[in-house]
Symmetry: C2
Subunit: 229 residues, 2 copies
């Protein structure tokens, strides 16, 4: 009788011990699983320029197929591989809901076509730019406005010198690059593509601040002249 009692006690102790032993591992596994799901490494990419000149028709010609391979019949003699410009275009063309652009200079025809393509696809686009640059020959701003895209600009003494974009309120694209062919093809430039929530939030707040400040109802029609750059 006593022997059986001891056996029961030993088996119970062993069972309890095994459960207690397994418990932290199970909890840890659950915790780590959840943490890894939350903390998927955010996208962090740097593009350096000048960009190799490549054919970007594959990205820009076919609405709805903008992210697929090179177009079957592209007749041009340019290389069809990846370049800093094509990677920038791809990052922008990934937009499905919204695109905020805050750009000092915007004259690149390819980047202009990408923005118009997104507009046609129904992406909500807002553009902030600098009033001096937007009036220059070759600026894309007039074309975007004609297409029905909302544009606001400064009337300050200073320059609206930012060069950033926010895709779907999730990806920040920012750097030294003005969106001009000169800069893309000839200058040493950098562009960061970042998914970090903190950075996206701060730049989105800056965008909303400037967007409200440049509300056209506040425009004056004889602004002061600018100082030199």
């Amino acid at each position: 009788m006593r022997r059986i009692r001891w056996q029961v006690a030993a088996v119970a102790t062993l069972g309890l011990a095994l459960v207690l032993e397994a418990l932290p591992s199970v909890l840890h596994w659950l915790r780590v699983g959840r943490r890894q799901q939350r903390r998927r490494p955010p996208r962090r990419e740097v593009l350096f320029f000048p960009s190799q000149v490549t054919c970007t028709e594959a990205l820009l010609q076919a609405p709805g197929e903008g992210l697929s391979g090179p177009p079957a019949g592209c007749p041009c003699s340019l290389p069809h591989g990846e370049s800093s410009l094509s990677r920038l275009l791809s990052a922008l063309l990934a937009a499905r809901v919204s695109l905020e652009l805050c750009l000092f200079a915007f004259s690149s025809p390819q980047l202009g076509r990408a923005v118009q393509l997104l507009h046609k696809r129904g992406v909500r686009i807002r553009v902030i730019t600098d009033c001096d640059y937007m009036a220059l020959n070759g600026s894309q701003i007039g074309l975007l406005r004609k297409a029905g895209i909302q544009v606001r600009h400064d009337q300050d003494l200073g320059y609206m010198h930012h060069k950033f974009a926010i895709v779907d309120k999730k990806v920040l694209i920012t750097g030294s690059l003005n969106w001009t062919t000169q800069a893309i093809q000839n200058n040493r430039e950098n562009v960061l593509i970042m998914e970090d929530e903190e950075y996206v939030r701060l730049f989105l707040e800056e965008f909303e601040r400037i967007w409200e400040e440049f509300n056209p109802t506040k425009y004056t029609f004889f602004p002061q002249k600018k100082q030199s750059h």
Copy 2:
């Protein structure tokens, strides 16, 4: 006798169970401790400009005390609080070993003084800049060269348009801001201060690539004229 044997077995089982139970927690604690030490959240800061005009003498006047409070007897009437410029200066003045600068335009007297202060403190400074801007009135480049700081520049058709700094090969400072008083005080600009190893490595590699490419032994003395910006 048999009873004692069972007691010993039970106690041994319990002891073993307790050890096994504690082991994963101890291992986990050690692992997490090490991981947290490795993965201290990297510094991620964004400075937006224009910067409020504040007194920066506290940072710039006293070598060796550059990071302490405002100087006791500063007579100026400017506010003495923090500003985007003072935070940028602090980030630079934290350098103890090395400072790489890759700047299109550099004419801000305060930023020039900060770089000279670091040079006097023995920090190894290397500057890459654009050949067009460095010759303009007010450029700091000549002063830095006179002080004995190494400067290299492009002779390209394109602009060396980067605006980044790397502090102690650990902190990347990059954005839209040219280091001019006009930009600091009047423009809408952004500067990111980042400790992410990946970004620092990529920008350092870009710096070394350009540094080698702009080696003065390769300079020609009748370079081609530049296109427009």
